[in-house]
Symmetry: D2
Subunit: 407 residues, 4 copies
């Protein structure tokens, strides 16, 4: 019998999660094709990956709502999830909705708190919350007789935690803090991550949160021998940066300035207006550029602005000012117009399929070969997208032979 | 004693050649740095390359004029070769000017004929022209006691030759055509190439001409055991295409349309207005894209228009219309503003240095590892720029150990 | 009782016509608002205009098909005419479809011939065709008891007629040519125009055809005392040109080059690939610029390319290269992403409403104050959009007082 | 004998002032043409304007330096003021330099303080400073026997003053504050303005400072019967906004979002990094848009970022997201690449010539017909550039007949 793999999404009512669930259903029903899935390109050919019908969805969200409602709302404003499509997959959406549980409201940004529903707002001690999350995961696994559950963080960007939060020092510090209800500075994402890893469930962070790279998560992953990877899905402007910047390096054309202006209109944009959250996002975006250019003199800057009318569209304008032979000063401009969720959702499905395979192969801890999927791949210094794809392809080559337990 | 290497430039009074000569002089005199030279990046570190002071310049041009005059004219309109700079290197410019000989006016486009000077217009049989070119090269080598001469084609884009020109069938066909003065359909570039290769001088084609890949040139290179490579320097829009297109492939985002609009203002632009010449340029530009995308459904198009006010600036606007998950339709636009000669000149210097090293290493025929430098690298199927850079880096790794005859 | 005005659309199954009919119905039913209608802005406030429920639609098309089918096809690919919307206005679409008659296939471009249906392909002498068109219009008026019928040309761009077509010399020449079946060089648009005007029905040309400005049409309009205006709706790139170019003139910033690259994906684009049709389109686009800049030295150029994936979207990239104080060379770039039919359709409704009012006010011949709606407004030298809007506003001021026969 | 008019520039060593002085000299010597001067276009034809040779330059600056040094520095980095040009006008530059006096360092931003020279840093009471400025102006007029002196503010953007600064309430409050040395919150620009106006010298504010519109300046202008106008020269992005926004209004295409990203590299950019100064700049830029669109629902935003490598170039990327018929959502993007000083300098010369004429015609107080030159024209509600040009043209028509005292 085929494996059954649970996918538990943090931020289950968000646009990306909605597109993951709806898109998977639409593919399984043959209503759309597999465009956008890296796992369906030649580089992944022959890998013993779990296929889309083997996935069962659930998740957490701090808001009241439903994936079905998000899909319908999204469809009205976006054109991707048309009413016709949504209707045809309504059973799958409902099934996933039945598996969504209240999220954890710890140190949330004011924008997130404002959106939160009654269930998530209920006063709760950290220890109780931690237990509740684990109970949700266990129940999900048991009721669906899942071979594994993979937890993916798709929640809104968190604020950067302060520089020295005791609970983040080690797994034991974390456990103490939870026990004593010392939540100060502790990001909710870390609680989710440890809750999952501690149960031997892999954890993937598609947001810029610190969770996957934090000491407690790393230790829990090592202890339980499961994968834990992040962070921040590379879907648009940063992807282009990591594709284009190596060209300037290769051609010995020093970049004097690289300034990027991002505009986006969805809930993510609203949350990002909170400067704390913005800082963590911007840091990740710029990091990649700095590492590739290896230059101290490049003036780089990233702006992210909320432009409500764009809704789920994420656009960017980047100006690259560079120097050439004989001091020539030249420019490259690009304008990117991406549908954020449509870019992110297939990568989430890819990450789950690849993580599931890595888990079966016995990999534990971070998975640096997943670098091309992340803005800031943990434990990987390679930022150049083409070089990251080579790491990824090498892993695929090794894994291709792998038989292991049947998919 | 150090090697002395001659660089003989076809189109010596053109902007690119002028920047090659002036830029080399400026670097040698410490008036500018080595920005733009790939041979000065880490990938080439430790290679036993000839250094810039070892180069001696000469060349051919069908026009009357001088490199010094081009430099001064260029400086007025462009700002790169300022009067101050030109003054300081006037001795070097004059020295190179003393080595420029009349070019060959065979099957030239009307625009080139219109520019040609009296010396080049003089009636001359093919055989006489061929001998004259070889005499020019021999004299250049002998008078300067050069260890080698590398001929680089920087002339204006030629028209595509008709599909079956007897002289292009083989080296012996070529020789017969020259002997019988059957010039019909024979591109001047092929005559230059065979003239050089036949004397065991390497030949590099930085233009889209058929020369380097033609049967006569290939046979001559094989016979004499020298390198012969092309074609069409990859400096701007095509470079970006070969950097960006692999991203769409890697991410499984099918490109529905990729349309590029190039505008440029220099003599090259004037010549390109001739549709025959334009066709060969456009073919090369599109080829790379088609090969990378491996797609029959992509609508691709390249336009090259002459906009005189842009002078030496080459700008491009590209629109990429692509599809994503759930049928999302997205766009990437880029605008490139490059100073054409400043982008091309350092690559010419790089190519000469690398070819000189390859020659000393005993390489003969085409040099496919030079792929990242060309729009249509001969004998190389790899179009993805990052993959081309890997081929190049591999060669460098192998060559690094090479001692051979001292530089 | 309120006036009833017939709108007879040439090219009734096209995207623009479909949006005119569907959009009017949607507004009348309160399913969408009046965004995009100039006649609903303050400049037109208080004018005794016929309102949308007073319009009755009919038309001609050389293709087989229906407005309903076009709406549904358009909706699938565009998102404007959603299935929900189309369903709610299906009765209006059917009603209009019942009034569409076979078009006239005279000197059509091969692309149009290829699309034509059996009814339009039937052999027919010119005189018979002319009579048929007039019979269609009379029957439409009589059956619906219309106070007036306004004919609007929305057909695909025609090829420019040769320079001296006898039938275009005068109305009597035209009549003779029709009688003798001498169709050579006679554009179908002129036959439509004279057929309408001869019956005292106003004629508006929203395409670049020569119809509205031709001698036969002018004479017929004068003879019957009815309005006749054109040509070529100003919806996108040209609109921007006529808005931006005056700024450069006002600021004494000479434009050295203005190059525009248009890409579009609909049927219009397919037809425009035929170079004859393209020439007439491009001529109109450039004319406006030349007149505003009053410059002989500006290098201007317009490209229109067919990019199927864009469907009904019309995009343009324009580069303006201009000179300033102390010889500074500067650039303005713009990228326009317009939904062609959504931009054109409300202007068609505006033109009909304004022409109807002009007719009631007794205006005859060309209506130069409608200049802001056209790329090449007949009998109007003013190209500057702001200045055109002033002419239009002045007319509105005069007309505001007008009572005339009740609307 | 011809009038002699002094132009006294606040911020005399800045790029704009340098280009004003150098450009005037270059034109007078016939080294460059009058491109960029509005006063040399047909709209101003026949006006009895003072010509460029009639101007004598002087000014204030808080920095040590010289116009000659700025010109040479500017030339190296920009290409406009080439060494050849600067050399040929060195006498004029020196002559102007001899008339530059230490500026006033009152409530300057830290960036300006950091640049200030010893002379300007010297402790000085407000009253002494005020007297010093007036003495500078009188001495300048007397020594050069000038018919008039026009003071133009070209200094770096000041911080917005707090909301209730007593000294800004009225001219008498201002005088009291000066007498009592109560400088708190008093912008230096106001001191300059009143110093000039109080001596019956017209004052023009080309910066976003509050000076020209402040109560003390207005009262002084009224009292002395001289012109006083501002504010903030309209040279780039805002110019485009006031040209493009009316098009959207005219076509009934509601703008949902208009976001603008400005990048610039000169000293102005450095000063603008100080958020206080930035706020006043951004406010002026947005004001125009809001007034034209008359919309509460438009999301508008302006960013100004300092990108040092751009030096004197000011670039902007603007995204306009608008709605059309049937709810279509469309976009316009523009990229502006302007040489800031080359755009500003001719407008400064225009303003001086026009103000001089207005003064001779007896105009006093604000000059709202100069609206097209300013981002926020004082006492003028018209923001639409074309409409502003009409006001300007009307004034010119009236003034054309004016003989007055000979030029």
């Amino acid at each position: 019998m085929k494996r059954k793999v649970g996918i538990f999404l943090i931020g289950a009512y968000g646009n990306v999660a909605t597109c993951v669930v709806a898109g998977t259903a639409a593919i399984v029903r043959g209503l759309t094709d597999r465009t956008g899935l890296v796992t369906e390109t030649p580089v992944c050919e022959g890998l013993p990956l779990a296929d889309l019908p083997q996935f069962v969805f659930g998740g957490w969200d701090v808001r009241d709502g439903s994936i079905a409602a998000s899909a319908s709302d999204f469809g009205e404003r976006n054109g991707l999830l048309t009413p016709e499509l949504t209707k045809k997959i309504s059973r799958e959406l409902k099934r996933a909705d039945a598996e969504v549980r209240p999220g954890l409201l710890v140190n949330a940004t004011p924008a997130v708190v404002a959106m939160a529903g009654a269930a998530s707002r209920k006063k709760e001690k950290l220890a109780a919350g931690f237990k509740r999350l684990q109970a949700d995961l266990r129940s999900f696994r048991d009721r669906h007789r899942l071979d594994d559950v993979i937890v993916v963080n798709l929640a809104s960007t968190e604020s950067m935690p302060p520089s020295d939060v005791p609970a983040l020092r080690s797994l034991s510090h974390f456990r103490k803090a939870v026990a004593k209800d010392e939540s100060e500075g502790l990001p909710a994402s870390v609680v989710y991550a440890v809750a999952a890893l501690d149960l031997s469930f892999p954890f993937i962070d598609f947001t810029p949160s610190v969770a996957a790279g934090s000491a407690p998560a790393r230790e829990a992953a090592a202890l339980r021998g499961v994968p834990c990877m992040g962070r921040d899905g590379k879907t648009g402007e940063t992807l282009l940066k990591t594709v284009l910047a190596p060209m300037f390096v290769a051609r010995h054309l020093p970049v004097m300035s690289w300034v990027g202006f991002n505009v986006l209109g969805n809930r993510d944009g609203e949350v990002l207006r909170q400067s704390g959250a913005l800082a963590s996002k911007v840091r990740d975006k710029d990091e990649a550029l700095r590492r590739i250019l290896k230059s101290d003199t490049t003036h780089s800057q990233v702006r992210i602005d909320y432009v409500p009318s764009l809704e789920d569209w994420k656009q960017a304008y980047d100006l690259v000012h560079f120097k050439g032979f004989l001091g020539a000063r030249m420019q490259l401009h690009f304008i990117w117009q991406g549908c954020d969720s449509a870019l992110a959702a297939p990568l989430v499905i890819d990450l789950v399929r690849m993580t599931d395979l890595a888990r079966r192969r016995g990999e534990r801890g971070t998975l640096p070969w997943l670098a091309p999927f992340f803005k800031t791949p943990i434990d990987c210094d390679v930022q150049d997208f083409a070089a990251q794809m080579m790491l990824f392809a090498q892993w695929c080559d090794e894994a291709r032979g792998f038989g292991g337990d049947g998919v």
